[in-house]
């Protein structure tokens, strides 16, 4: 088999850039949210301090093997998602491990982390974790449905399952973006995007004020730090997919940073304006508003 070993350090470099960008972006987004509430919010380096602190905690306890694996699964979900889609289009260095059928794999990875988390949190035996998981899984499932439909629509439209080919088809002018060639699919996917970014109005699962913090109730020290690392990677990885599928991909890092920021801002804008939904409300919302748009998109293609 012909494997290009140079890809490994390049992928690690991508990962490094994305982790740091994600950490700073998350803090920045939180600052924007705080400014809307007339606060100053956390300092921009706060996430680094939290992360180092959690790694530096001396004691940690475990509830069994799955408890260890939960955060590991979650992290590998985020990293896998990032590594199997081309981060920068047309660049040999940063196209990572993308291959012909990667779209399906990416869909799988989106769900993988949540599932691993569910197993791990269930092992912790904490009732709050169990409730949090039930709520989280039902909401994520409802939110993924329109996204999956949109992805099918896009795959049908371009007749390929390779993310690279889809990006290639959108080059040229921005009028070639899926956003303009297939607005229905993009609408459905963006509605689902709101649901999976863990920001209001769909953040009831992880909100500290709700059934205390949901799934990660029992997680602490390095386990929590792993999950925090994932919190930096996962949104970016997810946005990269959206960017590649719907917004023409990015051909260089500045364009990448800008597009990721803008796509993230969509969920932030919605988040600061609308109050939080309860789980059953948000599921109903997805089924009523997002899924029909997705079905329509598939049918029209």
């Amino acid at each position: 088999m012909d494997f290009d070993w140079m890809k490994i350090p390049y992928s690690l470099l991508t990962l490094f850039i994305v982790v740091n960008y994600g950490m700073i972006l998350n803090a920045f987004i939180q600052k924007i949210g705080a400014r809307v509430g007339r606060r100053h919010g956390i300092p921009i380096w706060q996430n680094y301090a939290d992360l180092i602190k959690n790694y530096s905690i001396r004691s940690s306890i475990t509830h069994g093997v799955m408890f260890y694996l939960g955060p590991v699964f979650r992290l590998s979900g985020g990293v896998g998602l990032l590594l199997f889609v081309p981060t920068i289009y047309g660049s040999y260095m940063f196209s990572n491990m993308s291959f012909a059928g990667d779209l399906i794999l990416a869909l799988y990875f989106v769900f993988f982390g949540t599932l691993g988390m569910a197993l791990g949190a269930a092992e912790s035996g904490h009732p709050h974790a169990a409730i949090g998981i039930t709520r989280g899984l039902s909401q994520v499932t409802a939110a993924e449905l329109p996204f999956a439909l949109a992805v099918f629509a896009v795959a049908l439209q371009y007749q390929t399952l390779s993310v690279t080919d889809i990006v290639a088809a959108q080059q040229g002018s921005f009028l070639n973006w899926t956003l303009f060639t297939n607005p229905l699919a993009v609408t459905a996917a963006m509605l689902s995007f709101l649901g999976s970014m863990m920001r209001p109005p769909f953040d009831v699962v992880l909100a500290p004020q709700e059934i205390p913090i949901g799934p990660p109730t029992e997680y602490h020290s390095s386990y929590l730090a792993l999950m925090q690392t994932n919190r930096a990677i996962f949104p970016i990885a997810k946005i990269v997919i959206y960017m590649n599928l719907f917004f023409g991909g990015a051909a260089s890092w500045p364009v990448f940073f800008l597009k990721v920021f803008c796509i993230y801002m969509i969920s932030v804008l919605v988040g600061v304006v609308f109050p939080r939904f309860r789980v059953e409300q948000s599921i109903r919302w997805f089924l009523i508003w997002a899924v029909p748009v997705g079905i329509l998109a598939v049918v029209l293609v």
Partner: protein, 213 residues
């Protein structure tokens, strides 16, 4: 001892029988161990800086002083900009603020929450009630000197202290942490027997293991 904590035989729907001993099965009883700073000076300094910059408070209000923490979360005082955040679960928190008088009933819960927190952990006593009993100095039902039950790193005086005083307290605590002087958890494990004896002196219905985490 409460009946639900006693040893008993449980019968499952399909007829199996097994023994449940809640105190042993649901808690881990091993006493805490001293965990000294394990790395070299430079790494520990970095860690201490991170610990001081990320104080996660356990959201557990005991006396009247808890009311002073709410303005800290809102725009007026906004403690988040100093790296202070509130966590809903003791597993993730590293700062426990005893915000005022502790009745013996609450003390029991406070001890349990404290013991569930992970090793570098700090306790701040807020208000005169935690120092010498304050205006409850002759109450039959509250503890007078928090120091005897939990290792306190810092006291903030006043009845009740203003949020500004709390912010100043956080800054002082940060200085202590950066200097590596906040080893309350290790102090607790070193003098474990003394603390337990004191705790059991005031808590008469002791129905939990000696150490639960």
């Amino acid at each position: 001892m409460k009946p639900e904590l006693e040893k008993r035989i449980v019968r499952t729907p399909d007829g199996q029988e097994f023994e449940v001993d809640p105190l042993r099965d649901y808690y881990c009883e091993a006493a805490p161990t001293v965990m000294p700073a394990a790395y070299g000076k430079i790494v520990e300094d970095l860690f201490n800086w991170a610990r001081s910059q990320s104080l996660w408070i356990l959201g557990f209000g005991t006396g009247c002083g808890a009311i002073e923490m709410r303005p800290l979360m809102t725009p007026r005082f906004d403690a988040y900009r100093y790296g202070v955040q509130w966590r809903p679960t003791p597993r993730q928190a590293n700062l426990f603020i005893i915000s005022g008088y502790l009745s013996t009933k609450t003390l029991k819960r406070a001890i349990r929450s404290y013991e569930q927190m992970q090793n570098p952990k700090y306790v701040v006593g807020l208000g005169s009630c935690t120092i010498n009993g304050g205006m409850y100095w002759d109450s039959y039902n509250t503890i007078k000197c928090l120091d005897q039950y939990l290792p306190v790193d810092l006291y903030i005086t006043g009845c009740m202290p203003r949020p500004e005083a709390l912010l100043q307290g956080f800054e002082d605590l940060k200085k202590l942490i950066r200097a590596g002087k906040c080893e309350g958890a290790n102090k607790y494990s070193e003098n474990f027997d003394w603390y337990k004896a004191n705790q059991k002196q005031v808590i008469h219905d002791w129905d939990m293991p000696d150490y639960n985490w």
